[in-house]
């Protein structure tokens, strides 16, 4: 909005660095240039200028740029100061900016938030931004960055255009069948629909972006006293769970989220599994919960007797330091949570496995909303492929287009924005 504050932030890496780029966005960006550089350079041309503060003290010799709105990254007037990257210089220039009327330091994500409010980025990009702001691990950050940078939007735009071409072909058959040219659909028509649907299926099969938020879910399971809680503590590197020689110490589910080498994990400790006859009422509930956790797990670490764990679980031979320790024949890892032996190797394998199951860094990942829309488009395309009446084919293609439109926010509705407003407080 015109009346909004003018904001600034260091948009390059943290000092010290070679250059520090300070961006200023908002109605007072021009005044900021005048105040510090003494003049407004030609739009979109870098020019070398001395920066001075209000008292006329020299701050730095810097390149300054002027981008008049609305065709700028934020949709507002924008100025850039490319200063020498030392800490003191940056602090001095920032201080001079903050001293100007109506100019303040930006809040996290505020530049991009303005870009959305000013129509410079679409819904999918904005969602990427929201993810970016809440990213805690490097992997989460990289995936959010891909969406915020428009990778998904561009892909959807390409799909949408392909569907438009297909639609135009059917519409030709429907509306101009009395003209000779367009009596029939081209032979490759159905094949093209199938190919597009196939591409969407591949995207749908990819790991989803919430997986990044929730982390890769690893559940530790086995009979009482197997050493689950001890290993859990070792993995999350804190004394999160109580351990003791009493069988049945852990009675409820305990979870902890940690990042190992930038990969987000959620580790889950569970009550030891044993027959209801030996366990008291509370433990029985704990066991039921443990079983539910097994079903939700991405991976189970099985500390019990060989072959008795759930399918696909990793066999762990724990407490290897104990006297009379007997390993399992098919143990994937032999370790001691107490001495730490073998734990590092387990971590390395976990990181590798989780990486493969989570969205790749830099690859656009779908969130639940986007996944649902894309699934709708895919279903519509499959239905179109299975229909011979061109009228219904056209309707299915339209449905696919609508799903794409909703994905990137073309079919804007209040609900959709309410959701987003909730995350961003754009309306304030």
């Amino acid at each position: 909005m015109r009346s909004a504050d003018t904001i600034f932030a260091l948009s390059s890496g943290a000092p010290p660095a070679g250059v520090g780029v300070i961006r200023v966005s908002g109605p007072a960006a021009r005044e900021a240039l005048l105040a510090l550089a003494g003049r407004v350079p030609e739009p979109r041309r870098a020019s070398l200028t001395r920066l001075r503060d209000a008292e006329g003290a020299l701050l730095d010799e810097a390149l300054v740029l002027w981008f008049p709105g609305p065709n700028t990254a934020t949709g507002e007037d924008l100025a850039e100061f490319h200063c020498h990257g030392g800490r003191a210089v940056i602090a001095a220039v920032e201080g001079a900016l903050a001293a100007l009327r109506g100019v303040r330091r930006a809040e996290p994500g505020e530049f991009t938030r303005r870009a959305f409010a000013n129509g410079r980025i679409d819904l999918a990009e904005a969602e990427g931004l929201a993810d970016l702001l809440s990213a805690e691990t490097e992997l989460q950050r990289a995936a959010a960055l891909a969406n915020a940078g428009g990778a998904l939007s561009r892909q959807v735009e390409l799909w949408r255009e392909r569907v438009l071409v297909l639609s135009a072909e059917v519409e030709g058959v429907l509306d101009f069948s009395d003209e000779e040219d367009s009596a029939d659909l081209p032979e490759c028509f159905t094949w093209n629909i199938g190919a597009l649907a196939g591409e969407l299926s591949e995207w749908l099969a990819r790991p989803r972006s919430e997986r990044l938020g929730e982390g890769f879910r690893v559940v530790l399971a086995g009979p009482p006293n197997a050493g689950k809680s001890t290993l859990f503590n070792a993995l999350v590197e804190s004394e999160a769970a109580i351990t003791s020689p009493i069988a049945g110490t852990t009675r409820d589910v305990i979870e902890r989220s940690v990042a190992i080498e930038g990969v987000p994990f959620t580790f889950v400790d569970t009550a030891g599994l044993r027959d209801g006859t030996e366990a008291d009422a509370i433990e029985v509930i704990g066991i039921a919960r443990a079983e539910a956790e097994l079903a939700r797990a991405d991976l189970v670490l099985w500390l019990g007797a060989e072959g008795e764990g759930p399918q696909g679980a990793w066999e762990i031979a724990a407490q290897a330091d104990r006297e009379g320790f007997a390993t399992k024949a098919g143990a994937r890892f032999t370790l001691s949570a107490v001495t730490g032996e073998g734990v590092a190797a387990l971590k390395t394998a976990l990181v590798e496995t989780a990486r493969a199951a989570l969205p790749k860094p830099g690859e656009a990942a779908l969130n639940a909303r986007q996944h649902a829309r894309l699934a709708e488009a895919e279903e519509a395309l499959r239905d179109a492929k299975g229909t011979s009446d061109p009228l219904l084919v056209a309707e299915e293609l339209r449905r696919a287009r609508l799903a794409f439109d909703r994905l990137i926010g073309r079919a804007t509705t209040e609900d959709m924005l309410d959701t987003l407003f909730g995350r961003f407080c754009i309306g304030k």
Binding site: G75, L174, L391, L417
Partner: protein, 616 residues
């Protein structure tokens, strides 16, 4: 000084519907036209309906308009286009005898209560305080009226072209309306020029019909209007011929003499109905183009060669015609020509077809950049209903993209404007499956009755029909087991359980006739209604799926954008978007989303800013 509630200028298809609709609403209405005997004239092809256009005819009829019944009165050839495809794209089309069609229109206009006919040239609008206060005729007669509907067709600044020849006029042999054109140009309205054309007319006695493939009228019983009990006129057949290489050569050799290519006509013509010189120029590799030879009436020898609209000089027209099979000796009775005319940029209109800058002035028909009788008639109907409703303090029927092609057209025009003459296509309607030509009465007549624009005859017909529809619903909800259907030899698997008849109707090969044991005689009583109900059942799952989409649409229709919304103040919108949005002045966020070039990002920005404004 004469005084009326609504005054309509122009006795073409738009004007006739506007005047009759306003009068049906109960407004004291006048219709002013150059020549009262030309009311109901068809300037071009004597055909009514077709793909997309047939829907418009049925919708105009469902709101008790004139076009459908007049088409039936003149019909001498019927075809249901797209019959092999889904019924939502069937296009009823008739060829009408010009004389009978016109006579029927005139009879209906004269019989219309509340309607006064005035012969004369509308010369100047009288404005007071920026809004319409009256009209002055060329002979000085003054009318006091606050609601004026302009339906002047191609007559505003019309210039006719034929080879090197130029004539002023809106149609061959008729004057143009220059004073009015000057006033409108002066009024600072956004005006532009478009062109259209018509083919030469041939003398049917000089065509060798025997060598040509015949195209008979269909033998079915449908009519354009359900109030027409049966087909009355004898049926004629058409014939199909083609243009030839020799003809194309003649066109190519003379392209520089066509005003379209010599630069004399700069305006855009219809892409969907191009002149023959355009076709040759653009699709030069084609060996020939199909030409339908359509008789213009029962009592005339005139034949309309559909497909060779042209403005080439007469000698070239003759050469081209004579190279077509069966036309070696054909005589041209009336050469083809092109017409270039002024139209108003329809984005200057609000959804009731009122000029935003001049309250009280409505525009309908070709003046809004459309082409075709049906498009003109449908707009005339809207403008007439809205003008009368405004004059009387009533409400016109609420039309929207989900209930009519009429609203699709008005919405397209007022939001997107035109770059070529606008013609209806079924592809323009996103809710096409619910907008079938054969369910127009179900969709619209009830709305018309509520608004008060439906005459007694149709109201009675509709009420009887609604009763029958209820009976169908009862019958359709009867549950029948798959076994019983299979026993009758229907293609249904025995283990498919018990379902209501409505669901069985979705199965291939299960027709209303086949379900006679359960439906009883109602199918035979009204086969057309039975067909409509069966299609409703067949499309029901698709329609149910559209419901959530319609909810979204209604939600974004609930966010109004005022006409003076400061688009330029929304940072980040490109100048082009700001210009388009300002011109179209969409009334709601939903409408803004249909303005071309408005990106998803821009739409979100609009929503954010509209909300902020509303909150401020």
């Amino acid at each position: 000084m004469h005084s009326f509630d609504v005054l309509v200028i122009g006795g073409g298809h738009a004007g006739v519907e506007a005047a009759c609709a306003a009068a049906r609403m109960g407004a004291r209405t006048a219709l002013v036209s150059f020549d009262l005997s030309a009311i109901g004239a068809m300037s071009c092809n004597p055909a009514i309906g077709g793909l997309g256009k047939g829907h418009l005819v049925r919708e105009v009829d469902a709101l008790d308009g004139v076009l459908g019944r007049a088409a039936d009165a003149g019909a001498i050839h019927y075809r249901m286009l797209n019959r092999s495809k889904g019924s939502a794209v069937w296009g009823p089309r008739v060829q009408a005898d010009r004389v009978r069609f016109k006579a029927a229109v005139q009879a209906m206009v004269r019989a219309q209560a509340n309607l006064t006919l005035v012969q004369g040239e509308a010369a100047a609008l009288v404005l007071e305080g920026g809004r319409v206060a009256g009209l002055e005729l060329a002979d000085g007669t003054m009318f006091h009226v606050k609601h004026l509907v302009l339906c002047t067709g191609t007559f505003l600044g019309g210039i006719l072209f034929r080879g090197e020849e130029r004539f002023e006029g809106g149609r061959i042999g008729e004057n143009a309306a220059h004073r009015l054109a000057l006033q409108l140009r002066g009024a600072d309205l956004p005006m532009a020029r478009l062109k259209t054309g018509t083919p030469p007319r041939l003398d049917g006695r000089t065509i060798d019909w025997a060598v040509l493939e015949e195209q008979p009228s269909d033998g079915e019983a449908w009519t354009m209007s359900p109030l027409t009990k049966r087909r009355i006129n004898p049926r004629v057949f058409c014939a199909i011929t083609r243009t030839t290489q020799a003809g194309h050569d003649a066109i190519r050799a003379n392209l520089h003499r066509s005003p379209l290519f010599s630069g004399a006509i700069a305006a855009a013509g219809p892409r969907y109905c191009p002149s023959i010189e355009d076709k040759i120029h653009r699709f030069g590799d084609r060996e020939g183009h199909q030409v339908f030879l359509e008789p213009e009436g029962l009592d005339t020898h005139m034949v309309y060669p559909n497909g060779i609209s042209t403005s080439l000089p007469v000698d070239v027209q003759e050469e081209v015609v004579r190279t077509m099979p069966g036309c070696g000796r054909a005589e041209i009775v009336q050469p083809g020509y092109a017409v270039e005319y002024d139209h108003i940029d329809p984005r200057a209109l609000t959804p009731d077809l009122q000029v935003r800058a001049i309250p009280g002035l409505y525009c309908a028909g070709q003046i809004n950049g459309t082409t075709g009788y049906e498009e003109a008639a449908a707009q005339g109907l809207v403008a007439g209903l809205e003008a009368a409703a405004a004059a009387l303090g009533k409400a016109a029927p609420k039309l929207d993209r989900a209930n009519s092609y009429i609203a699709v057209m008005v919405d397209d025009l007022t939001l997107q404007g035109v770059s070529e003459p606008y013609r209806m296509l079924t592809a323009r309607a996103e809710y096409r499956l619910r907008l079938r030509a054969n369910n127009a009465a179900t969709r619209l007549t009830g709305l018309g009755i509520a608004a008060g624009c439906i005459g007694a005859e149709r109201r009675m017909w509709w009420e009887r029909r609604e009763d029958a529809r209820k009976m169908f619903h009862v019958k359709h909800s009867q549950k029948v087991h798959a076994r019983e259907l299979a026993d009758l030899g229907l293609p249904v698997r025995r283990d498919h359980g018990e379902k209501p008849l409505a669901e069985w109707l979705r199965y291939d090969g299960v027709t209303p006739e086949a379900l006679a044991p359960w439906l009883g005689e109602i199918t035979a009583l009204d086969p057309l209604l039975a067909e409509e109900m069966a299609e409703d059942a067949a499309y029901a799952p698709y329609l149910a799926r559209q419901d959530s989409e319609l909810r979204d649409l209604r939600a974004s229709e609930a966010l109004p954008l005022p006409a003076d919304f400061p688009y330029a103040e929304v940072p980040g919108l490109s100048n082009e978007m700001v210009e388009r949005l300002t011109k179209a002045a969409p009334g709601t966020l939903a409408a803004a989303g249909r303005v071309p070039g408005v990106t998803p990002a821009a739409l979100s920005a609009l929503l954010v800013h509209a909300r902020r404004k509303a909150a401020a």
